[in-house]
Amino acid sequence: MIDTRKIKLTVNGRACEREVETRMTLADFLRHELDLTGTHVGCEHGVCGVCTVLINDISVRACLMLAVQAHGKAITTVEGLANPDGTLNGLQQAFREHHALQCGFCTPGMLTTLTEFLAHNSDPSEAEIRLAISGNICRCTGYQSIVAATLHAAKALREGKS
């Protein structure tokens, strides 16, 4: 017997309704039911951080949540971060200018994690940024450019130029 539930949730501002198997993870739901493949799967044991999404603006590991647990919640994935006109937002633009991504696989998780971080930290130090992304593994960049991009984006936000 396959155990399913109907769930209703909002993803990137859009309401959606699906019937899902209860054992399906939130990461798989986003990727395969909603075709939002921007959220990646890297380890499925909650260490690498590439699956990080925002639930009611709070960062969580989508591989460690069941889709049914997202019922009634508002999810933001990397696909929901850009400006309404589709242009890169301040953080994304800063990533590009500082070469803060190479293969791009950890990038969605970095962006969602930093989006939450910058919402609560307007003038972070380098050390604080490194702590903030300590739950996101990058094998390509060595993190330095990600920190530089975040400092830049924080400054732009402070100066009202987002």
Partner: protein, 291 residues
Amino acid sequence: MKPPRFVYHDPTSVAEAVDLLNRLDNALLLAGGQSLMPMLNFRVAAPDHLIDLNNIAALSYIDMQDKGRSRFGAMTRQRDLELSADVARTFPILQEALCHIGHRQTRNRGTFGGSLCHLDPSAELVNMTVLHDGLLQTANRSASRTIAASQWVQGVMTSALEPGELLTGIELTAWPTGHGFAFEEFARRHGDFALAMVGCLIVMGAAGTIERAALCVSGLGPGPVRLAAAERLLVGQKPSHQAFRAAAVEAEALDAIDDAYVKATYRKHLARVLTYRSLQRAVAGAARRAA
């Protein structure tokens, strides 16, 4: 790495959860999911039933009205403990310990009660509970009971919970305002499971001697261990290298387990070093406040 099949239940009350826990065979409770979900994904846990506690609002609260005793619902998120100014003021050592628990994303979902029931030997919140002589409230079909933190850990990742019993809350007693505190942990990387950790609370007397001391070591055995002899010895003493050293030596004498990665001797050595460091810092902090 996909979970095996189970039947999902999401009760909205403690009574409902307890009823399910008693009725269903091979059922597991889902709290924050940061420990259980990896086990499901690895298929090392294969419950027939999964009881999700996240919709029981009554299990999530921070109640610090009572000056002496603070009460926390079992489903209180680690994040909420971290962000609470009241908790920071009343239990400052908790703030130090919390930032070592995994990472931001872990703490956003992880819960106080979940940590206490999963009982990883390196769980900071278990150390904190034993350090503060916590009381754990449980609920079952027939009755509820209160279990002292010192009785909570029965073995490796085994709590004192009976079958069908649910942890509902934790009660901690605050130390006097101005108490010295220090949490010291050694992990290989930030957020990793600690190889050893020490929580230390100190009250300094007016005469410059130690009036009260609590020292709790985790990471060596299945659960946290209070350095009872060291605590007794420290009372009435002036802080000194000899006093700190004696406590450190007691910590190093604790039993520890070898595993493939870490030798017991290293954990014991770390317990020694961290005990010394935490005493130094707690005493220094307490003295400043008493002045």
